[in-house]
């Protein structure tokens, strides 16, 4: 039985081209990996409301503009005894660097730490980034701006 859900995620990017990632792993253990802030939408919740809620809960970030959609992916994975198929969309959020503060108690259990990554460091990550091609996505955005259309889907099945 696979649970399907929609999720919204932010590529939080500073003027110095640093990206904020969170090092997490599943409650049942396994490998550590890095994700962008965000999470599942609640029933009936819009993308904007969901993203603002997640940014507040996970980062303590309340004042920001939601930038362009730059990526879509779907990921099937095990989490806390459930099999989840999550359809995610990624928006850029431009903000000055800040000190993130996690206030969501459930997320806090999975979180090891936050880290701001320089774009050149993304290509040399030793642990999995989510999306896997995050470095390319950010570099392309910085070089060319947002894609005119994000029709492409990247799929990861764990």
């Amino acid at each position: 039985m696979i649970v399907e859900r929609e999720a919204i995620r932010a590529i939080v990017l500073t003027p110095e081209h640093e990206v904020l990632l969170m090092r997490i792993r599943a409650p049942e253990g396994g490998d550590w990996f890095w994700i962008t802030p965000g999470g599942g939408l609640e029933p009936g919740e819009s993308v904007e409301v969901g993203l603002r809620r997640e940014m507040k809960e996970e980062l303590g970030l309340e004042r920001f503009d939601i930038g362009p959609l730059v990526w879509r992916r779907q990921h099937t994975f095990n989490w806390d005894g459930r099999r989840i198929l999550q359809r995610e969309q990624y928006h850029v959020v431009h903000v000055p660097g800040f000190d993130p503060r996690m206030s969501d108690p459930v997320e806090a259990k999975a979180l090891d730490r936050f880290r701001w990554w320089r774009t050149d460091e993304l290509a040399q990550a030793r642990e999995r980034l989510t999306p896997i091609s995050l470095g390319q996505i950010v570099m392309r955005y910085l070089d060319q701006g947002p894609p005119a259309e994000v029709s492409d889907v990247e799929v990861l099945v764990d």
């Binding site: 099937t76 990550a125 030793r126 896997i132 091609s133 492409d152 889907v153 799929v155 099945v157």
Partner: protein, 125 residues
Amino acid sequence: MLLKTLVDLETELFGPDARRNRARLEALLHPAFCEIGRSGRVHTRADVLDELPKEQTTPTIHARDFALTTLAEDVLLLTYRSAQASNTGALERHTLRASIWKRSPNGWQIVFHQATPTPPETHKS
């Protein structure tokens, strides 16, 4: 949307839920199914139904660049690029894949699949 439907079915076949479920595999694999694997080996429907449920582990599969071509009414060609993802995020065994799906009274079924090894993409996102 057909692309979404077929991407969902194709990628369902990547995961352990379908691979270890013989009844689900029987529903998804057309009676005439065969596959030419990336090694060049030919797998019949009977081979796949026998072998997949015995897999001990399922690799993490990364796939993108999905494209759909209509071959005939209710017959579609799905092409894409796949790779295996390691726990460090490295992608290995890059493969170009093609699947022919046919709509039957009981839903879409895969008739044919071919995998061809390919070098990693250099810079495209």
